[in-house]
């Protein structure tokens, strides 16, 4: 029997039991669409975080106390403002070093309240982080030195506190202290996890007094180019470890952060896909089960076909093709639902979703594979039936 013939026979058999075929397919449909959907969400999250980290500005080196590791508690910082000058000298450009000490604080104005990440920084931030302003200006070196109480608002904060009113020149209250608004940031888009539009920047000196601390949390150094960035990285750490004997410091580049974040999100995607794959497995068992029932129901048909000259492999092929057809059609429907669902989620929910080209291709291959794997046992049983016994079956 040729393949085309087996295909026609299988199609007829599935059509004859439309409802049962559909119910059997649902297991595969759910499994495949779940895999496609969850992989899309995982990939989307990865892409978004990568864009976000890239958006921080090119050639950045972040310097933090202790070890830079995801999941480890941040070390107590002993970094101080003078380290800006130290690292500026190491980098050969005093304007290339930005500093931050931050805390979550309520910001109020005229009965409106916004909860913001208040970051104490220095005047180099717009240059180091490529952070454009929508209106007004960023604070100056003099503002930092004189501990002036001025603030630059993120777009969300400005919107919450002032609505459509121009905030420039107005006052906001941060932890009970009045600050004058001198600028607003351009919208950097709503992002995953941390909303950078909910930031308020104030001079680091003012922030230290406000929070009652004299430490700083971290430094960022903008390298002139990606070339030689590792050398600079090592020299920055060396300079700090010379100054603070017995302390450990880390410097990481944006590329390294991207790598680490990418690994974590790949793992997340893999875990999501594995969970979805379990439902695909269950779907496969369902196919196997129904095929066994089908073989039993059609025992007489198998006996007849054998009497008329069907060989073992003809019968095996017939039932294997039927199982593969079942999972493949289910797989295609599942892919359609998964891709459609991903597009809907991407458009209408806060979660990003990204269909990688390989995910539907892989899902299709897996559907065919599930058909083969779970179809073989019933098909072999059919092929091995003794025609004498099979023809006697009622």
């Amino acid at each position: 029997m040729r393949g085309a013939e087996a295909f026609r026979v299988a199609l007829d058999a599935l059509r004859a039991n439309r409802l049962r075929s559909l119910l059997t397919m649902i297991g595969v449909i759910i499994g495949v669409s779940a895999v496609v959907l969850l992989v899309a969400i995982g990939s989307g999250a990865k892409q978004e975080v990568e864009e976000q980290v890239e958006g921080l500005g090119a050639n950045l080196i972040f310097v933090v106390p202790g070890r830079f590791e995801f999941g480890s508690a941040p070390s107590v910082s002993r970094l101080e403002l003078e380290d800006i000058d130290l690292l500026g000298r190491v980098a050969g450009n005093p304007d290339a070093v930005a500093v931050t000490v931050s805390s979550g604080e309520p910001v109020t104005e005229g009965g409106e309240e916004a909860f913001a990440t208040v970051a104490g920084t220095n005047e180099t931030v717009p240059y180091v982080f490529d952070r454009p302003l929508a209106r007004g200006e960023y604070f100056s070196e003099v503002d930092v030195e004189t501990r002036r109480r001025v603030a630059v608002l993120g777009s969300t904060v400005a919107k919450t506190l002032f609505g459509d009113v121009d905030p420039l020149g107005r006052q906001v209250t941060i932890s009970g202290v009045r600050f004058q608004v001198i600028g607003t940031f351009a919208d950097v888009g709503s992002t995953f996890g941390v909303d950078r539009n909910a930031e308020v920047h104030v001079p680091v000196t003012a922030a230290q007094r406000l929070f009652g601390v004299d430490r700083i949390d971290a430094l960022a150094v903008k390298a002139p180019s990606t070339e030689g960035i590792e050398v600079l990285q090592a020299r920055l750490v060396e300079a700090l470890e010379d100054k603070y004997e017995g302390e450990e410091f880390s410097a990481v580049t944006q590329t390294q952060i991207l790598g680490t974040v990418g690994e974590i999100l790949n793992l997340l995607t893999l875990v999501l896909a594995a969970i979805a794959a379990i439902s695909l497995l269950v779907g496969g068992v369902g196919v196997s089960n129904i095929m066994l029932v089908s073989v039993r129901e059609r025992t007489r048909e198998i006996g007849l076909r054998k009497a008329l000259g069907a060989r073992q492999r003809d019968v095996l092929l017939q039932f294997l093709v039927e199982a593969i057809l079942l999972t493949t059609v289910g797989g295609v429907i599942g892919i359609a639902l998964g891709v459609g669902g991903s597009l809907l989620i991407d458009r209408f929910s806060p979660l990003p979703a990204l269909i990688a080209w390989w995910s539907p291709v892989l899902a299709f291959a897996v559907s065919v594979g599930v058909g083969v794997f779970f179809g073989v046992a019933p098909a072999r049983r059919a092929g091995r039936l003794d025609p004498v016994v099979a023809l006697r079956t009622e």
Binding site: M1, D12, R300, L304, A307, L308, R311, Q312, D314
Partner: protein, 244 residues
């Protein structure tokens, strides 16, 4: 024991359709050995019309399964269309069935969701004949049993007699040397049964197909030219002989 060993085969140039020498067949049923056939020697010439008669449990069904190459003898030699059945693989037996034998069953054994035409064409599927050619030959076979006008009907839309004629057309389509019919009239009224037997007679005389009909109906058996009686796994009587 009466066998056809004594029949002169100088008269025939063609190979015998079936040749059984001391064939036995035993089964194991729940640990017990059951001897369904206990040494049967029988020769059926090409173009013979034979009835196999016997009560249920006599071994006649086992004999038919062996003649039909659905089964192999436990001991003894069985040749169907000249081929030694014991020496053939399962795949080779399937091919032998496909090319040499046409089956007609008591319960018709038609595929319910398939048209009469496609039912008739089924054996050709396993011979690798192309679809168009299959349909052409199936049409001819249906014409031979007088059912051209029913080609597109499904078995459920046909009467019992018509269904059995479709089954006969299916048995014919591959141009077999041997037609095996197991109680072909068992599910039909006597009038329709007689029609079916008439069809067998016609095929036997016009096409030279050897026909073996298993039955317990003596009226049916009378229409064959030779009657082989089976009892307790042995040949009891062998009456008549090849038509001259």
């Amino acid at each position: 024991m009466t066998t056809t060993e004594s029949t002169s085969y100088s008269a025939r140039t063609a190979l015998p359709a079936v040749e059984a020498v001391e064939v036995t067949r035993s089964y194991r049923l729940e640990g017990l050995s059951v001897d369904a056939l206990r040494g049967v020697s029988l020769r059926i010439e090409a173009a013979e019309f034979v009835a196999v008669i016997g009560p249920s449990g006599s071994g006649k069904s086992t004999l038919m399964n062996l003649f039909g190459c659905l089964d192999r003898p436990t001991t003894g030699t069985l040749r169907v269309g000249g081929a030694d059945v014991s020496a053939l693989s399962d795949a080779a037996l399937a091919r032998l069935r496909n090319e040499t034998i046409g089956f007609v069953f008591q319960s018709f054994q038609l595929l319910g969701r398939t048209s009469a035409l496609d039912n008739v064409a089924l054996p050709l599927v396993y011979r690798g004949v192309r679809r168009q050619e299959r349909r052409r030959r199936a049409q001819q076979a249906l014409a031979a049993v007088g059912l051209t006008h029913r080609a597109g009907h499904r078995p459920t839309q046909l009467s019992g007699g018509e269904q059995q004629r479709v089954a006969i057309a299916r048995a014919l389509v591959g141009e077999p040397r041997l037609l095996l019919a197991d109680e072909p009239t068992g599910n039909l009224d006597s009038h329709t049964g007689a029609e079916v037997m008439g069809l067998f007679e016609q095929l036997n005389s016009e096409r030279g197909v050897a026909v073996v009909v298993v039955t317990h109906d003596l009226d049916v058996a009378e229409r064959a030219h030779r009657q082989v009686h089976v009892r307790d796994g042995l040949l009891e009587r062998d009456q008549g002989g090849p038509r001259r």
